[in-house]
Amino acid sequence: MSTFPNLKTNAVAQYPATRSFRYQNQALRFLEGVEQRYRDSAGPLHRWEIRLAALDESEMAALEQFFFDNQGCFGNFAFTDPWDGTQYANCSLASDQLGLTALAEMQGKTSLTVIENRG
């Protein structure tokens, strides 16, 4: 299984980076207004929004190649959470689209969203 590529600084993400958790709970509302809630999943799923700037051409090419190798959101890979170093073995890209902008030499910009998968 592939691993999300690090930048040349060995960092995975730059500021600002966003991490979110998603639970999947269900609620049943009864006639008198009372609700009964229950868990509909084994636990939370993580999501990381990674915005990258000031990338050089090699880093941009590596990210593009990673996107291509994974065929967008099809492939799975291991992702290390840059907040706490925990490795999540079953992750994928959230989108089948990747935008890359070269603003100037060694001034590349892109963003990717990584999601943790169930199972």
Partner: protein
């Protein structure tokens, strides 16, 4: 063969360049949150947005003539990715994309100057010079920058092949980057780039890269290469804004799709 034109500087585009890759994945999500995915590589598209400023009269005329020859979105053309390495499988010299002489042995997994293990040792056991090259389906008359990192423990003289141009270079024991920018035969519709090792000699090479411009950028490892045949204009409209005497600007959108 229609080929997207270079500017007078030999560059294909100016900054900023935007590139967007789109793929298609069919996802069937189960109630428990698990997903079954099916990739659809045939639906891949790549788009470039090229923003030009400060174009001369001649450059804008060439762009307009090319747009007229393509008749907007009607006819396809060859487009050379201005942000990419035109070689396919640049780190895999044993791939079928490369043509190597029969007496040239290729050994991969050599430590490279970027800190990886992607360099190759080329050893010629034959009685004559042997080369490894890749032929690109791109006009030879364009300006290309061919670059590679090379070294040799024995001070081997190698020949860098750039179309019909041959440049001799004596390698040192440390990695050095060889950069050759030139254009070739304007009537040829393909061009080969490679490196030739003399009889009985060996050399280490890494980071072979061809770019459709005058200078070399940082090495970009590739698998699919940067020559896109059957690319098209995304729009039927080309708007040119004249901002001064001999000074024009325009934005061009180019689309490449596997399925078109």
């Amino acid at each position: 063969m229609l080929v997207y034109p270079q500017l007078a500087t030999g560059a294909l585009s100016q900054f900023p360049v935007q590139k967007r890759r789109s793929l298609r994945t069919v996802v069937n999500t189960s109630l428990d949150g698990r997903a079954i995915k099916l990739a659809d590589p045939g639906a891949e598209t790549t788009e470039w947005q090229l923003a030009y400023a400060g174009l001369t009269d001649d450059e804008v005329a060439a762009l307009e003539q090319f747009f007229a020859a393509s008749e907007g979105t009607l006819n396809s053309f060859t487009f050379l990715d201005p942000t990419g390495n035109l070689f396919a499988w640049s780190d895999q010299l044993s791939n079928a994309a490369w043509t190597a002489g029969p007496f040239l042995s290729l050994t991969g997994g050599i430590a490279d100057p970027a800190g990886g293990m992607n360099a190759w040792r080329l050893a010629n056991s034959g009685a004559g010079a042997q080369n490894i090259s890749q032929t690109l389906s791109a006009p030879a008359g364009y300006l290309y920058c061919f670059s590679l990192f090379a070294r040799s423990l024995a001070g081997t003289p190698v020949t860098v092949l750039h179309g019909t141009n041959c440049i001799n270079q004596i390698l040192g024991t440390d990695w050095s980057r060889i950069i050759v920018a030139a254009s070739g035969d304007p009537s040829a519709e393909s061009i080969a780039f490679g490196v030739e090792v003399p009889a009985g000699e060996s050399a280490d090479v890494f980071g072979m890269q061809v770019e459709p411009q005058a200078g070399a950028s940082l090495y970009k490892a590739t698998t699919i290469g940067g020559v896109y045949q059957n690319a098209r204009f995304r729009d039927d409209v080309l708007s040119i804004t004249t901002t001064g005497v001999n000074c024009h600007s325009a934005t061009v959108n180019i689309l490449y799709a596997n399925n078109i």
